[in-house]
Every structure is written in C-alpha cells, then in structure tokens.
C-alpha cells in the first residue's frame, strides 16, 4: 500500500540514525553531531515498545561524540552525563558507571571516586533492588580505587621504612584503605563472572597481610568453581600464586594442565614444558612433548626461538635415548601433512637464517629429525651454517646425519 512510502516521524528518525551510524563508523564527529542534533527530539515521543529507546541511543551516541570530538571539553562531557542520568531511572547506575570509566580514562581519579560514592548511596524504591548487580559493581570499583590508594600508601611506607622512619599516620591510612577495599572486592568475586582485576588486587592485599590460605581459597574458587565462566587467566593467577608460595612442582603442574587444555597457545606453555621435561614420570614427559608440539601449532609461535629450543631439546633427548620414539611418531602423525609447509618451507629457511640464526638452528634440528637430512629446511640451514664454519652447525649436521634412519621410522 502507499502507506509504506509515507514519510513519517519514525522513518525520518530511523534514517537519521543510520546517518549517525555511518558518521560514527567513519569517525566524522562533526557530521555525527549534526545529525544527532536532529535526532534528539525523539525524546519527546514515546518509544517504550522499542527494544532500545531514544534516550539510550542519545546517551551512547552522545558519549562517543563528546569523547572523540576535538572541540569537546571534559566539562561539557560531565554536564552531558549528568543530564543523561536524569533521563532514565532504570539506567541510572549504568550511566554512572560509564561516566566513572571515562573519568578514570581521563585521569580524574578523585572525581571518579566521588561519583562512585554518590552512586552507591542512590536509592529509588524498588529500582534499588532490581539494580542490585550494578550497585555491587559500583562498590567493587570503589573498592578498586581504595586498593589504588592503599598501594600508594604502601609505597610511601616502604620508602619511609628505608629511611628508618615509622610513619604511623600513613600506616593507619593504609590499613583503612585495606579494610574498605577488601570488603567490597570480596563481595564482587563471590558472584560468578570475570573479575580478573578485582581478583588480582584482592589477592595482592591478602598476600601482603599474610592471609595466604584465604588467598589460595579465593584463587581456587575463581579457577575451579564451575559456576564461573571458563577463564584462562584464573589459572594463570593461581599458578603464579603457587609459584610465589614455593609450592611443589606437582601442584604447579596440575594448575597449568587445565590452562593447556583451554589455551594450548598460552605463553606459559614454555614453563610448563620445561617442568614436564624434567619430571621423573614418563607420563609427564610425554605430556611435555604434547604441550610443546601443540603450542607450535599456532602461527604466533612460529618464530619463538625458546619454544623451538624446548622442542629441539626434547626431541634430541628422545632420539639419543632411543626410547619413546613412538611419542614423536604419535605427535607427528597428525602434523606431517601440514607442518612441512607451515614451518619448514625453503622460504622460511631463508628468512629464519637471515633474521635469527638461533631460531634456524633449533628448527633445523627438529626438521632434520622429523623430515630427514634431505629436507629443504635442514639442507639449506645446515649448508649455510657450515659455510659460516660455526661449530654447532657442524655438530648439527653430524647429529642429524647419524640419526637419519629415525625419520623413516617416525614418518612410516
């Protein structure tokens, strides 16, 4: 019907929004502001049936524009945020939080703290109960800022301590911040979620005051409670804590095992492999091999000399001992179709040689064992290496040549 073509308020504003969107995506802040000026009168119309109403649109778009526009000042920004807070009761706390984030980005820590305190004390009938989660977040961030203050005091205290001064006032303040921070941080990490920064800070506090058991409990909860979303960082924090505490290799390994499962390409895999290689248990050593192979599957590791040296070391050790070649065979089975092109092409040989001789050395060793002395990579690197008359390359050539039959058994 012809009514589809009627230009009405709603369609006009929809078109306006799409122009704003285009302008924002192209970072044309002036143009976005121009169209937003035309859009704001949507506030006078009721959109309560729409999913996202104009007040939320204006808040989000306006924030972006004011944040990026060259002529916009913090003062105007703050003024705008205050207006947005009055626009929607249901959104009040969210707006407060976002405002706080922007203040922090701008380095206005004190203002941020003030806003957080103000928001915390907000009450609005049943809304207070409904927006319970937001309140917790606000309290958590206030706790975070308290932690920052605590940190500062601690630093001052330690410096004074060196000079021999015992500054009671500073110490008192520091403890005060600790109490305030701990209370709020403890609360938020009870709720399932991703709270990396809160957890780290809380654990830092606990460790300082010697509450190691509590810290361990917190980290265990964070890493192993199934209600919490899977978070690799949780395991990293736990591992780092255990390491600081001087825990046994066994517990360190068990902490990293899950990390390997979730993120095989994590940078801690090198530490993991190193630990596993040294283990007396056969299974652990095999796991080590698995771990390092898995890490090198990822493009980000291609030029990681350390990782290659781990792999090279382990492979060399296995070949020399002539035991457990089947481990290598197993790992190589699923990789023999694509690793040669991925890691051991002639182009890479040239490039690695040019850029990083150690890298090419380690890789050449692995290539020589897995693909034999006639493979492109090994041939090139070893040839170049021998030309330079560096000792280790001659040793390498000898080693690989001697163990050449191995590759047949592996690839067979």
């Amino acid at each position: 019907s012809s009514n589809e073509y009627k230009l009405n308020f709603k369609k006009s504003k929809e078109a306006c929004l799409s122009y704003i969107q285009d302008a924002l995506l192209q970072k044309q802040w002036k143009r976005a502001a121009e169209f937003l000026t035309c859009y704001v009168e949507s506030l006078e119309k009721d959109y309560s049936r729409e999913h996202i109403g104009p007040s939320e649109m204006i808040w989000r778009i306006g924030t972006e524009i004011l944040w990026h526009h060259s002529q916009s000042r913090m003062k105007e920004f703050n003024c705008f945020m205050e207006q947005m807070k009055t626009l929607g009761v249901k959104r009040y706390l969210k707006v407060c939080l976002e405002h706080v984030f922007h203040l922090l980005c701008n380095g206005q820590i004190d203002e941020a703290y003030q806003n957080l305190s103000l928001a915390e004390s907000w009450r609005f009938g049943e809304q207070t109960a409904i927006q319970d989660k937001e309140i917790k977040l606000i309290q958590a961030y206030r706790g975070l800022l308290d932690y920052c203050s605590w940190s500062k005091q601690k630093k001052i205290l330690l410096e004074h301590g060196e000079d021999g001064f015992a500054d009671l006032a500073v110490e008192q303040e520091m403890h005060g911040y600790f109490r305030k921070a701990a209370v709020n941080l403890k609360e938020i990490i009870k709720i399932p979620g991703v709270w990396d920064v809160f957890v780290k800070c809380y654990v830092d506090l606990l460790e300082f005051y010697g509450e190691h058991n509590e810290a361990r409990q917190v980290l265990n909860e964070y890493a192993y409670n199934s209600k919490f979303p899977a978070n690799p960082n949780a395991h990293v924090y736990l591992y780092q804590f255990l390491k600081r505490q001087g825990e046994s290799k066994k517990s360190l390994i068990s902490a990293l095992k899950i990390l390997h499962d979730i993120v095989p390409s994590h940078e801690l895999m090198i530490d993991f492999n190193t630990m596993l290689q040294k283990s007396k248990k056969r299974k652990k050593r095999q796991l080590g091999l698995e771990v390092i192979f898995a890490a090198l599957d990822y493009a980000g590791w291609k030029e990681n000399a350390k990782a290659w040296s781990c792999l090279a070391r382990q492979v060399k050790q296995i070949v020399i001992s002539e035991k457990h070649l089947d481990w290598i065979k197993q790992e190589w089975n699923s990789r023999k179709d694509w690793w040669p092109d991925f890691h051991f092409s002639r182009y890479l040989a040239k490039r690695n040689w040019q850029e990083n001789k150690s890298l090419s050395y380690e890789k050449a060793l692995v290539a020589g064992i897995l693909l034999g002395k006639d493979c492109k990579y090994f041939k090139y690197v070893s040839h170049q290496g021998c030309k330079t008359r560096v000792k280790r390359f001659r040793m390498l050539k000898k080693f690989v040549t001697r163990h050449n039959p191995v590759y047949l058994r592996i690839s067979g």
């Binding site: 012809s2 306006c16 799409s18 035309c38 704001v40 009721d46 959109y47 049936r49 916009s72």
Partner: protein, 580 residues
C-alpha cells in the same frame, strides 16, 4: 459568506451559489438578486464562525482559555495556508472569494455552521473546565481508546493507552479530553456521510481553490512547497491564538507526524468537490498552464531534454485526445470520466515519447547514441551551428542528468533525515503530564544547543526560496551539459514527406490494464521486470514530482492503451511488440 439573512420565501438560512454567482435558497430554490461581491468579506478576520451557540468566554477558570470548536481551528489553518500562497504570488481572489466560499459551503454541508442544528443532536462537550467524576458511569460515552483509534493521525499505542488510563483514573475535577469543545465528538462522527475534516484535507481545499482559479501550480508542486516549509502544515497549530488551548484529542486532529501523500490529497480533493456540489470548474484550455502541452514544455526543460521533443508530445497529446477541454476540466461528481493528474499525465506523455523515439529497451537507445556520437565527432562547429545544434546523444544526457539527479537525491535524503518535526509549542495530552512534557522539551533544547555547537560550521541553511524548477540547465554552460538546443536528427527520418522515428518498434508496459476500482492501480510496477533505461526515466520524473514511480507507470500504461487502442484489439494475445 456572512449571508445570514432569512430567505424571503421560506425563512430558512440555507444558501447556495448559482453559476451566475447569485445566492439561492436551497430549501425553496428562491433566487435572490444578491451576488457574492456584496457579501461581507471580513469573514476571515473574525474568528467567530459559529452562529449556532453562544460562546462564553470563561476567563480565569481555564487560565485564559476559551471555548473553541475544531472547525475554527481548521479555519485558522486554511487562513495561514492561503496567506502563504498569496505570498508566493497567487492571486488574492483565491483567499477572499474562492477558498472562503468553498469553506463556508463545506461548513454548511457538513452541518457545522450556517444551518439549523439537526434535531436531537447535542454537543457532548468535554472541555477543560468540566469536571467529570462520572466518566465511567455514563455508558453512552464512547470509550476514549475507541475515539483515539478512530483518528487518522498516527500515534503510538503506548501513549494512547497511558493517556486513556490516566484520564479514566480521574478523581479530581480536571480531566481533559480535549481543549476544544467538540474534540471527542469530532472523532466520533460518522465519517462517510459528512466528510470529516483532516489536516491533509486542508491541502485538498487549497488545491481545489487553486484549480478553480487555474493558478500555474500543480499538485506535486504544492506538496513540495509544503514539505519545503513555504506553506504551513506540520506545526500550524502553534499559530493558534493563546486562548485556544490545544490538548488531549485535539492533538490527534491537528498534530500530524507524516507528510501527506499525493494520492491522499488528490482523492480527497475530488471527494470534496463532489460533496460540495460544485459546478463544472473553469475550462482548462491550451493556453492554460495545466494543459499537457504547457506542462510537457516545462518538464522537458527541467529534464534537460531537447526542445524538439515538444513537437512529439503535442502530437501524442492530440492523437489520444487528452488535450481536449472536456477531458481536462474537472466535473465534480462525474464518475465516468477519469480524474486527471495534470502533472503525472504530462510526465507520462514525455516517457511515452522517449519510448517512441528511443525504444528504451536497454539496447537500442545506446546504439542510437553511438550513431549520434559518430556524427557529432565528424561535424565541425560551424556545421553544427547551421544545422541546428549537435545530435542529441542519449548516453551523454544520461550521464549528465544521472549525476545531477544523484546529487539532488542525496541532498533530499539527508534533508528528510534531518527534518525537525517538533516545534516550540509544547503538546500535552493532559494537565497531568504537562510538567513532564515541558521538562523533556527543555532537555531536548539543551541537547540541541550542545551538539549543534559541535556540528562545526555547518549551519542550518536558510529556507531556499521557493522555485518552480528543481533542476536547471543553462545553455550558456560551455561544458555542453545543457541539451535543450540539441537536435533529434539522428533519431528521425523522413517518410512520405512526414517526419517519423527511426525506431520502428514499441513495447507496451502492460498488455492488459487492471481494474482501477478493484486494486487501485492500472498496472503494477516492479523494477526488475522493466529495462533499466525505463526505470531511470521513471525515476527522474518520480524525483521531480515527488511521487512513486508506479503512479507515472500507471499513466504511461493508460496513454499507451489509448495510443495503440486499435492495434491492441486486433493483435494476438502473446505478442507484446508492435510495429508502428
């Protein structure tokens, strides 16, 4: 007309106007000697239209408001509109004689004024000051939601519901249905009989008057001037006097939030003409602006097409008889003649002529263009000067016009997105949400200021002066972007002493016309089914006239069927390509 004298014969006050401009009594057909000119014409300045009931100025009780009726509001709207038209150069008779007479006639016919109140009808007025503690107890009173749904203006259901519920929860004495006396009654009236007045209909009134005076302005131009802001429409109510308080249901009637469509205004205009029992309108002759020959000339210029095409449009017009006075002149109430859309018709004629000359099948026109290009290359300038302009090249024309069209269309799209619908005057349904509305308005103004400053040097440009031409091409441009003087030599040939087209073929837009009364259209236009060139040409005129291409397509179909009528009757069913 303030002609309130009682008839000498029957003592009724029920006057009509004869063709000769004399008053005659409708009840007994007594013709008087009184003519229009004698009648008091300061009707417009006096807003007291009603002679049916005394209006009490209840000052103080309603903070300065007074009782006012919906039709008074519309009268003010019409007044503003016709003043704007006068400012645009329309003759002053339109306001003082034509439009106001039409309006009075309407009031009388719809029994809002100038007549005895039909027996039994009482005005169930709910004005601002009325206390309505018994709102729910009266079973005859239509529910508010029902009234709101009857209104043609769009609104959001949510607002309506919240408004309705806020009113029904009344316990205080200030419930508000409408600021006007008969707002609720107005929405309730039986539409069919009495042709209820709406905002789009004000434009129908204007156009009716313009047509009577045969002003050189088409309906599409009128509507364009409305959108461009030269004629008040969107927020006219802000010019109502202070004491005419607008709230509640009045908003539904006067606050529209969409631009009226051509079809809407056009159809209402014809309904209105019939309703008012108007006689045959003044003749549209060949010298008249609205005649297809004249309009074709204008549109050819605007479309940057060669002047020579005008000969062809005239030929087509003559051949199918659409230049006849009887075809073009409006006869209200005559259901057998097709209602003429002068602008669309002229545009369609041009489209048909282009199809005749260039075929527009995405193939032939480009061939002809190449041919012309060759000729142009070989000719020297002197040669061209003597032989009357270079050969018209379709390709060049397409490129030039498309470029301009795209630029203008882009501008137009941005304008539409930037349009500001609200005005300074706050609108509120009830006194209750007045403060909320005012607060919101304040915030909107603040935000507009804040972001307006950040818009950079882009200031909202002054309203452009109203112009009849949206695209203009100057022959003085040396870049050859004006095609008016170009020659059609390349596409014409002489046969038996007559100039005819080189193109021997023609394709019909549709073989069979639909029944307009059943589905509203003569044909159904879908872009994918037609050649791109045809679509482009439709698009060009669609932009100029600000209507959907399908309307032009309809007219094209109509013209084609008239043109090839005989051949169509004879031809085989599935053959759609005709030889001329």
């Amino acid at each position: 007309r303030d002609f309130n004298e009682r008839c000498a014969q029957c003592s009724e006050v029920n006057w009509g106007l004869t063709d000769g401009g004399r008053f005659y009594c409708r009840s007994c057909h007594n013709v008087t000697e009184r003519t229009r000119e004698v009648v008091n014409t300061d009707f417009i300045t006096n807003s007291r239209v009603q002679t049916i009931s005394k209006r009490l100025k209840k000052e103080g009780k309603n903070d300065g408001g007074c009782e006012w009726y919906i039709c008074e509001g519309f009268q003010l709207v019409l007044k503003k509109q016709v003043e704007a038209l006068e400012a645009l150069g329309v003759c002053p008779q339109m306001k003082d004689e034509i439009l106001c007479n039409f309006w009075r006639c309407y009031l009388q016919k719809s029994k809002q004024a100038y007549c005895k109140r039909p027996a039994g009808e009482t005005v169930k007025a709910l004005s601002v000051c009325e206390s309505s503690t018994d709102v729910d107890s009266d079973p005859e009173r239509p529910s508010l939601l029902h009234l709101l749904s009857l209104s043609e203006s769009e609104g959001d259901l949510q607002t309506d519901c919240s408004f309705a519920s806020s009113v029904s929860k009344v316990s205080e004495s200030t419930s508000v249905y409408s600021g006007s006396v008969d707002g609720s009654l107005y929405l309730m009236k039986n539409q069919k009989e009495k042709l209820r007045m709406t905002m789009p209909m004000t434009l129908s009134f204007c156009y009716l008057a313009l047509l009577w005076v045969r002003e050189p302005i088409t309906l599409s131009e009128l509507l364009r001037f409305v959108v461009e802001g030269h004629i008040p429409y969107m927020n006219v109510f802000q010019h109502f006097p202070e004491k005419m308080k607008l709230c509640g249901l009045d908003l539904k009637i006067f606050c529209v939030e969409s631009w009226p469509l051509y079809e809407e205004v056009f159809n209402k205009m014809h309904e209105l003409a019939a309703f008012l029992d108007l006689p045959r309108f003044p003749d549209i002759t060949e010298s008249c602006f609205l005649h297809p020959d004249m309009l074709c000339m204008k549109y050819l210029m605007e479309a940057n097409l060669p002047d020579e095409l005008h000969n062809w449009t005239c030929r087509v017009v003559k051949k199918i008889g659409i230049g006849e006075v009887d075809f073009l002149t409006l006869m209200p109430g005559n259901k057998s003649t097709r209602k003429v859309k002068y602008d669309v018709l002229a545009a369609a004629v041009i489209v048909v002529v282009l199809k005749l000359l260039f075929l527009l099948d995405d193939h032939y026109e480009w061939l002809l263009s190449e041919f012309a290009e060759e000729r142009n290359k070989n000719n020297t300038e002197v040669c061209m000067f003597y032989s009357g302009g270079p050969y018209f090249e379709f390709r060049k024309w397409y490129e030039v016009v498309k470029h301009s069209l795209d630029v203008e269309q882009k501008k137009l799209d941005e304008e539409k997105a930037k349009y500001l619908w609200r005005c300074e005057k706050p609108l509120f349904y009830s006194v209750k949400n007045k403060s909320k509305v005012l607060k919101r308005r304040q915030m909107v103004v603040n935000l507009q200021n804040q972001f307006g400053k950040l818009s950079g040097s882009v200031q909202r440009a002054e309203k452009p002066n109203p112009s009849s031409f949206q695209l203009s091409w100057s022959e003085e441009n040396t870049d050859g972007s004006c095609f008016h003087g170009h020659s059609l030599k390349g596409v014409l040939q002489e046969k038996c002493g007559l100039l005819t087209t080189m193109n021997p073929d023609y394709w019909l837009c549709t073989v069979k016309l639909c029944n307009e009364k059943l589905c509203g259209h003569l044909a159904h236009y879908r872009e994918v089914e037609f050649p791109q060139s045809y679509h482009f040409v439709l698009g060009l005129f669609s932009f100029l006239l600000r209507i959907q291409p399908s309307y032009i397509h309809d007219e094209v179909c109509m013209i084609e069927h008239r043109l090839f009528n005989k051949k169509l009757c004879k031809k085989l069913k599935y053959n759609t390509v005709l030889r001329k």
